[in-house]
């Protein structure tokens, strides 16, 4: 079974290409048991979304209600 180092590398690559069936299965098995890597995977996606928005700033923040 893969370790966290391997899983996180694949989770990063998943942002750039489609993982193979074997890779996907391995990652899914690992993340089903490892919360750290589960979070890492989510955060890879969040980073990508945030980066896209970096050049699209919201209007200056409104004062809090």
């Amino acid at each position: 079974m893969m370790n966290c180092k391997q899983a996180t590398q694949l989770l990063s690559q998943a942002q750039d290409r489609k993982l193979t069936f074997i890779e996907t299965s391995g990652v899914k098995l690992h993340t089903s048991m490892c919360k750290g890597c589960r979070n890492y995977g989510k955060q890879m996606k969040q980073l990508s979304d945030l980066s896209k928005r970096f050049l699209e700033p919201e209007p200056k923040s409104q004062p809090k209600p």
């Binding site: 370790n3 966290c4 180092k5 391997q6 996180t8 590398q9 990063s12 690559q13 942002q15 750039d16 290409r17 490892c34 919360k35 750290g36 890597c37 979070n39 890492y40 989510k42 955060q43 890879m44 969040q46 980073l47 990508s48 979304d49 945030l50 980066s51 896209k52 928005r53 970096f54 050049l55 699209e56 700033p57 919201e58 209007p59 200056k60 923040s61």
Partner: protein, 205 residues
């Protein structure tokens, strides 16, 4: 005459706002220089983007919408420069594919000897980071984290995530292998993730 009350921001020609345009130009120059690693190429790209923006002037209700539009033009200019230029950086400055990264140990310190997360390094859940996106402070932290990336990581990351180049195109530009690029992106993302974790999420700002 009674002016009708407006519930939406009045359409405004942002190109008339000198202070805004000056700041915008600086941001564009910074971004283009980071991507192209060449001051005069960056200047040209920014200049062309401005000309493109002024030629196709439209009025925007929100300043951020105008900024997005101008940056989109700049992104395309940068892509054109990258695709048309054969080499932007002398190859002597490029690391060869086979070089072992000297900081390999630093990156691997996140994991123990068996390749599992050290407890203190393990990513914790991020609650609603998209809410942060409307927070100026958050973007300052984000930008600082980006600037904390070593040059080659930052460049690869921005080409992939900001410009949206394919991995093949980036490999061609950086004259590197797919494997090396995977490593660059992995480290950039890991470092960025950790920086945001420490400086934003964990601080509960």
């Amino acid at each position: 005459m009674i002016e009708p009350s407006l519930t939406v921001p009045e359409a405004h020609n942002w190109t008339q706002d000198e202070a805004f345009m000056s700041e915008l130009r600086q941001q564009m120059l910074k971004f283009a220089t980071l991507q192209l690693q060449d001051a005069s190429l960056a200047e040209d790209a920014v200049q062309e983007a401005f000309i493109g923006a002024l030629k196709n002037q439209q009025t925007f209700g929100r300043r951020s919408a105008f900024k997005t539009w101008v940056f989109a033009i700049l992104k395309h200019k940068i892509i054109d420069v990258i695709r048309n230029n054969q080499r932007l950086v002398p190859s002597s400055l490029m690391q060869s594919d086979d070089d072992d990264q000297p900081d390999l140990e630093v990156w691997d310190q996140q994991f123990d000897g068996r390749g599992y997360w050290h407890l203190s390094e393990r990513p914790t859940a991020w609650q609603q980071p998209s809410e942060s996106a409307s927070n100026d402070q958050f973007w300052e932290v984000f930008e600082a984290c980006l600037e904390g990336l070593p040059g080659q990581y930052s460049r690869a990351y921005m080409m992939r995530e900001f410009i949206g180049l394919s991995t093949d195109e980036i490999c061609q530009q950086l004259e590197t292998s797919v494997n090396s690029l995977n490593v660059l992106l992995y480290r950039a993302r890991s470092k960025l993730r950790k920086c945001l974790q420490i400086n934003w999420i964990d601080k509960g700002i």
